[in-house]
Amino acid sequence: MVKLTINGIDYEVERDKTVLQVCNDIGIDIPTLCHDERLEPYAACRMCLVEIEGAKNLQTSCSTKVREGMVVHTHNDKVMDARRDVLDLLLSNHPIDCLTCEKSGQCKLQDYAYEYGVREGTYVGEMRNKPIDDSNHFYTYDPDKCILCGLCVRVCDELQNTNAIGFEDRGFGTIVATPFDQGLGNSACVSCGNCVSVCPVGALMPKYDTKFRLWETKKVRTTCSYCGVGCQMDLLVKGDKVVGVEPAFDTFNNGLLCVKGKFGYKFINHGDRLKTPLIKKDGEFVEASWDEAYKLIISKIEDTKAKYGADALAGLSSARCTNEENYMFQKFMRAAIGTNNVDHCARL
């Protein structure tokens, strides 16, 4: 354990933690734009700066480990001025179009501008002016809104291990790009959307088909139904329509999803979606009740089994079922039907 003083109060905290982690534990809110507990510290946004007595410059709390006897100030004038100036600099190179920005209401830059009372960027000069990359089927990248926190690049590298994107050029001209500027749609990107999920501003945005504000939606926690892994996610529901998906961070998939979970939700409210069983009568599919459908299936199975034996039947289950459902299905085929002819679409 280590003893230190934060904002005049003494604490005894675990060794090997960063100042930011300790502050989070004890309920001191420190702003961050580039920090993610799942990733290596990056210390680029400089919003988490704190004053540590004895240090020449302000220190980033995300990358400073606690030390015995440390005296930390997280919200004194010097720190607050530095954070305000950082926000001012960011906003001076960021379109102030919150009124129409899709991210409004869930944008960290907007939240901090509000919290720190920075109404607009006060430095008048050149602003980034690059075209939007909309070559990916599921999301877009708007470099003008990007604050270069690097979360997308690092998630793609450290968590997704795809390395589809990186930084291009340097200094004021830096942007996030794919190799040789081929565009996201022509890159190694697997469209997992984990970069989109971590973007703190409106630079990486899903291609929504419904306009909504976050405060108009309610979040519904559910299990992704695409495969047996069982990733947890929050459906964003506006009225009775699913308008977006966010990965759950407080569970085993740890804020990650794949392309299906992140972007494959539009079938839910799609007009072509089947909502009742269909039975072919006189060459045409006709809507039927579940009872009717089950009865038909049972009678066909019994007929076939009586006529040709149990091995004339085979079962094929879906990767969209859970492991438990798949287990039950093979048990059903073996015990109830009496055959080992059972297979699964995702077997190798």
């Binding site: 210390a43 400089r46 980033t60 950082v86 960011l90 340097r170 004021f172 830096t174």
Partner: protein, 526 residues
């Protein structure tokens, strides 16, 4: 296989040949038992890092050995433990010559103490300050001294691999280093089982791709690892977790070139040179408006006046000296009133500049200090890696403010704006490049504030340098030859033949043609 006897034999054979050659060339003399370069320029200099430059043939390992080369390494492998070597370095108090002045011995000690299966030595040869070429001269003129310094460092901390990160823009240095490494391996002073002992040390070159920020230690390591050159978060010391997360000592070229001599002559001898806190010498690239530009190596504590006037011969073209800029884009401008300041790490920091790697640019009365600040800041803006906000966005905004001022559009509040921005950038940036980027601006604001005010309030450039604030004007010396009017691309000069001409300043585009063609020098800028 190399042995101490064999080294002595090579030395004894090579020395007479070297003496013979030097005698024929007649550019050296013997002073206090050392071979030094002749001439007034060198009289006041004490050359340790540059001891062999321009004296030995850089391609010849024999000539390096003739002047005691590799004797320090050979001796230490048999007579000193790695711990002794580290202690000698600490005792010498050799401070890093790359700019920050961190004691090399303490760096070595950290890496020495840290237990690991693999350690590395890196030579930082990514010299990039505008006008600075100290390291280049050492690499081109005496590559073996750097190799020997690295091998000594390797023995001290227990590393068997070294890397020299050198700019690709230094092709001759690269060529000479490659040749020197090959020779050193052939002679058994580098590679496996050096001097027949079980100490092995290999050196490889890594070429930089032109980014200034790769001179920053952790960005350099990222670059060697094949990643984008951006500074790392300073959560671990590089002496504990550096290159490929292994303990790494990174020293600059000049630092390494000092090391063999320290072990030949002892730490005490070294401490006898220079000042107490900054022992030894420092090499400067004396450039700018000075009469005799070139490399100057003087004991620490020598005053700027001695360097600029006694060695450099003062300012060229009979103009008055105005300032000296030290430390490149991270340094500051020191006004002529402070030329008696001794040049050492502490004294320069006290007056708002830094020692830096050794760039020393002399400025005269025609240099506009606002524009000088703009020049150095532009360099930092171009070379920022773009990782952290204060450096990426802040230096750009500061440059825009300076351009506004030199462009004649400065407003009163711009100075305060720059001052507060300078605080954010210097206290809030991730690496040294950002933290020191405002120095050229803060130091000129401190010493030459009146020039900023003249640009802003009076819309004039006192040094007569900023084009936007100047007007072309025809004096009464005009003979009415009409040459200027005929050469004006926008026809804004009027006047009759043999009568004084007049420039319409509203229409003038300040191309300067009139000034160039005037046969009597009647066109002036004011």
């Amino acid at each position: 296989m190399m042995s101490q006897e064999k080294l002595r034999e090579i030395k004894e054979n090579a020395r007479p040949l070297l003496d013979e050659r030097l005698k024929v060339e007649d550019k050296t003399e013997v002073r206090d038992g050392n071979i030094v370069l002749k001439g007034d320029y060198y009289k006041k200099q004490v050359r340790i890092a540059l001891r062999n430059c321009e004296i030995i043939l850089p391609e010849s390992i024999e000539e390096y050995i003739a002047l005691d080369g590799y004797s320090a390494l050979g001796k230490m492998l048999f007579e000193m433990t790695p711990e002794d070597v580290v202690n000698t370095m600490i005792e010498s108090n050799l401070r890093g010559r790359g700019g920050a002045g961190f004691p090399a011995g303490r760096k070595w000690l950290e890496a020495f103490k840290y237990d690991a299966d693999q350690k590395y030595i890196i030579c930082n040869a990514d010299e990039g300050d505008p006008g600075a070429y100290m390291d280049r001269s050492i690499l081109e003129g005496d590559p073996h001294s750097v190799l020997e310094g690295m091998a000594i460092a390797g023995y001290a901390i227990g590393a068997n691999q070294g890397f020299i990160y050198v700019r690709a823009e230094y092709p001759l240095a690269v060529k000479r280093l490659q040749a020197a490494i090959k020779q050193a391996k052939e002679y058994g002073v580098l590679g496996n089982n050096i001097f027949g002992t079980d100490f092995s040390f290999d050196i490889e070159l890594r070429l930089g791709a032109g980014a200034f920020v790769c001179g920053e230690g952790t960005a350099l390591m990222e670059s060697i690892e094949g990643k984008r050159g951006m500074p790392r978060v300073k959560i671990h010391r590089t002496a504990h977790r550096g290159l490929w997360q292994k303990p790494t000592v990174i020293n600059n070229v000049e630092t390494l070139a000092n090391i063999p001599v320290i072990f030949q002559r002892g730490a005490k001898w070294f401490r006898g040179i220079g000042t107490e806190k900054s022992p030894g010498t420092k090499v400067f690239a004396l450039v700018g408006k000075v009469k005799e530009s070139g490399l100057v190596e003087v004991p620490m504590g020598t005053s700027l006046r001695e360097i600029v006037f006694d060695i450099g011969g003062g300012v060229a073209d009979g103009k008055a000296a105005k300032a000296v800029q030290t430390g490149g884009p991270s340094g500051g401008c020191i006004p002529v009133e402070l030329f008696d300041t001794p040049v050492d790490f502490e004294s320069l920091a006290k007056i708002g500049s830094i020692m830096g790697s050794g760039g020393m640019v002399v400025m005269d009365e025609t240099d506009c200090m606002v524009d000088i600040a703009r020049f150095f800041l532009e360099f930092s803006v171009d070379e920022s890696c773009g990782k952290c906000v204060p450096c990426r966005e802040g230096t750009k905004r500061m440059l825009e403010l300076l351009e506004k001022i030199t462009g004649g559009n400065g407003e009163e509040e711009d100075i305060a704006r720059m001052e507060s921005l300078a605080v954010t950038i210097s206290t809030g940036s991730l690496c040294g490049l950002g933290q020191t980027a405002p120095n050229p601006v803060t130091s000129t604001l401190h010493y030459f504030r009146d020039e900023y005010e003249a640009h802003i309030r009076d819309k004039t450039c006192p040094a007569g340098h900023c084009q936007a604030l100047l007007e072309y004007y025809i004096t009464e010396d005009c003979i009415g030859c009409t040459k200027c009017a005929r050469s004006c691309p926008v026809s804004c000069i009027s006047g009759k033949v043999k009568e004084r001409h007049v420039i319409d300043t509203d229409a003038c585009i300040k191309c300067g043609n009139c000034m160039e063609v005037c046969p009597v020098g009647a066109v002036i800028l004011r």
